[in-house]
Symmetry: D3
Subunit: 219 residues, 6 copies
């Protein structure tokens, strides 16, 4: 029975998965599909390089193949959307990516979105994604907070860096909506929104909420 | 209490509203927001010209202002999305448009979407929308079925014209996903999909399903 | 007899209309069409929100319909060009918009134009226009002077804010031509040009001058 | 005294210049600048190759330098606009090109313009121009009539080829406005318009009419 | 000693590698880097799906890591360039992709290139690549010959399908240069060029020739 | 016998040609084509204005025509690529431009390139080139060092200005690869790379290395 939406955290960090799981809470409902957030034990601690992304892609695929018969849909919960286009080749199952849906959602909340990225080195890869999606015209810019995965545990410093990046995107790049360029940071959404005065898209929630609607439609 | 998603048909045709209402059925659920499809009595019989669109915009706004206190969200159920950007200025209520959401949804189902338009004269207006959305790179093309609103009641001829347009979009324009350029034609989605072998987006369902997710998130 | 070019100020400010009227002086000539600048009494004091724009659109249309038999052409003299695409449906009469013609003219004076906007909140709407026009590649950026309509009467402070915005567009955004993002500020054109060293387009003059040529050609 | 608008035919064909001159008739007026159409004796019989264009550029520049003190403005009356960007470096004189102004004018008459080109081999060069202008999104396509310069004297065959090209642009490429990709074919404008049902832009008239307005403004 | 340019055929077909190897002949020279064409035994028989591409990517990476100390550079010899962006993270070694270099080379031979694709299902993926490269404006279109990998051994039928596709790209899509959307078909380049009258880019040769120059520069 | 690659410095500065010649050293090889760097005695001292470019174009053409029978290829060694599209009309000889190849090469080294320009006034012209090439999406921006040709002899000040421009492109414009917007500055490549930490493309080397490969292929 295909009744589960799998939100796949392709890194091996349980803490990230826990953050994602908490962010799914408002989307869970009695009759709805189950939303199950999973950690891929064989993933890297953090997806940072292209090699991380492309290796994670096959782990994501393997997970999807193994759970296909129970899956109503899959969300790739990493801002590089590892494996997304492979998942789309699986017949009869919906797959959405968080950078994809984060961007598409931002496009309904403002005219030019800015991305609060984690690492400088990922920004070029993100631009390839915006180019492949054909939406670069809507991207105001990206600013990295420049903190490695392990440094993200210092929440106060992380939030403060995100707010600085958000303000720079607003004031220098002309963004009027922000996208958080990372899964599992939903807890920062409200304070970032308050501090910048701009709507902020948390991409995993954006993707999961779109997935639920599509599952209902059976598209 | 803000618990209703209003799907606003800005033309005065009850039949169109009935078609939309039927299309909402899979999206209704026990605990979820009510989905109410409304006909604007003061709208034109069909929204065809720019004047129709811009006049309808104010009717849509008036309806929204009057129902704002009960609204969890609004969907503008006409492919020219009349009034959408005005509705977005209303504080604390979500508004989504069907051409907008039809396109964004198509962008997750294929790389280049084709639009089955109703009238040749609307295509220029649609291109302005795709340009304003910054997504023209994803548009394979538009083909009109060239049937006036009153002629749409001949369902067999309409479907057959839609299939011809869909095949032309696929074979000459290179579309690998289709968007129906009209509200209230949900009944044609499945046969159009079968006949062309391409995924088909019914835009009112696309918009309503996105709206429901956003209402849950309270974004 | 269709011998008048109507330049329609869609807000209710006579002072703005007077400024526009003065700006038309170099374009008036003996044998040419009359240029009549009109204030729409039912317009808002200033067109600032999308609702202002869309409401003004219908006032503009009503005026045009009432004066169609005397009109050689219409210019929508507000940087959001309310009603422009409706006016274009009127048979046998030319209609041009000032943001449209301001941009097209700037494209002959420099490679990347910067817009001195009035309010931050309008910039997203302008980008939708540049997108619909398919010319975003030519837009260096927009900077708002951030002064409300009532504050524009302080001319010295307004000019000084425009110059600051113009220099920022030149130095940070790489603009090599400027467009004034507002009707009725023709008096600031020369000093803004002198202070920035860049050509400056006053959009109402740009639109009216193009309209006069088109009227001669009867296109 | 700078009171003449020079419309420069950079090829050596007097017949072409005569056609241009006739097309200027509606734009001439008592108090206005003189409009003088000139043939460059040292130009090629027809501007067809890039070498023709770049050689013509220097002839155009030389003419402009020699007539600068009498010039209110220059129009480069060849669809490759030879020398346009050099003329723009001359201080205090306006210069406009016909492909440039033909395109900008078309952008006010329809959403996607088609170009009726003369020779297949020029189309790549035109696309470079549309790219440099940043307006490719507005170009529906180009279709060449495939007739050499000497063959253009057969007017019936030429018109018939233009109509065929125009219909192909309308029906296959989705153009809703046409631009004639050649100077001096103004006589075909009306019949091409009638035959295709689309507005048709004659680019030399478009450029000259814009130039006259700009001369009045002294921009 | 890093003196070998590895041209990696990521599918397991020795025949394809042999074709590539023959195509490298004109690029080999006495003092130059060795050019070694390799077959990845663990690759799929043909790279057709996204899963094929993403699986091949890791095989390509593994090969590159194992041969890194002898490599002057790598060319990914499959039109989906599997692993290219991972290879670029390897320090001190050049990596180029054939679809990438095929397109970049075509951009110096014509204004709008057409791609003769093998399978219809790959075209969407190619468009994502052109989008990520930011060059969609230069793509006239793609036409697939619609022959599976095993059917490519019938050389006469394959060439005839390629010529038909090339002519369609030239006549319907306006291409003035062609790119062969597949590695190892160098033998068809000359006849395709002769039959269509357009320059034809064989992408593996394009990539290898660029790689040799870059190796000389040590970039 | 066509065995020489001519690298044409279209200005009359022998010092620039000497710099180019030194930069060609790593590309010369025993069996390879001769690489001959030439100064055009009739060129301007520096190519700065559009008039310089367009005049130089004809000198470049004349040189090419005179040396065509010995030429394996031509490189236009000025960042405005004077005459490039004329040279391409010469049958049977390859022609590449340095701004063209500098940009194409940068597109394989990073996602968004920044250009270190010499003069502010050239930047608009460069943007026309990027537009004509259809690659503006890949351009992060341009920053001029603002030094005239004669001031370039102060090498320390020039390098220091280039480094400042490069850092601004990296930090404010988001460039992750740089292109030197001038021929004959190869000596600065390594220090600019070291100081900014970004890969730097010297465009004459980029063009010559591509040309050598194409000569081998006889394309």
């Amino acid at each position: 029975m295909r009744d589960t939406l799998y939100v796949i955290n392709p890194n091996s960090s349980q803490a990230v998965t826990a953050g994602i799981d908490a962010a799914m809470e408002p989307l869970r409902r009695a009759g709805g599909p189950r939303i199950e957030c999973v950690t891929l034990a064989d993933g890297p601690p953090g997806v940072q390089t292209q090699q991380d992304v492309d290796r994670a892609a096959l782990s994501v695929l393997r997970f999807a193949q193994e759970h296909q018969d129970k899956a109503a849909g899959f969300v790739t919960a990493c801002f590089s959307d590892p494996g997304l286009h492979m998942l789309r080749e699986l017949p009869g199952v919906l797959s959405l990516g968080i950078s994809e849906c984060g961007a598409l959602t931002a496009m309904t909340l403002g005219q030019r979105f800015g991305v609060v990225a984690i690492l400088q080195g990922s920004i070029g890869r993100h631009w390839r994604t915006w180019g492949a999606m054909g939406i670069t015209q809507r991207v105001a810019g990206e600013v990295a907070i420049g903190r490695g995965v392990t440094e993200l545990t210092d929440r106060e410093a992380t939030l403060s860096a995100m707010i600085a990046a958000g303000k720079r995107l607003r004031d220098e790049h002309g963004a009027n909506v922000l996208v958080m360029g990372c899964a599992g940071m939903a807890a920062y959404r409200a304070p970032l929104q308050d501090a910048t005065g701009l709507p902020v898209v948390e991409p995993t929630q954006a993707a999961a909420s779109m997935a639920l609607g599509r599952i209902q439609l059976d598209w």
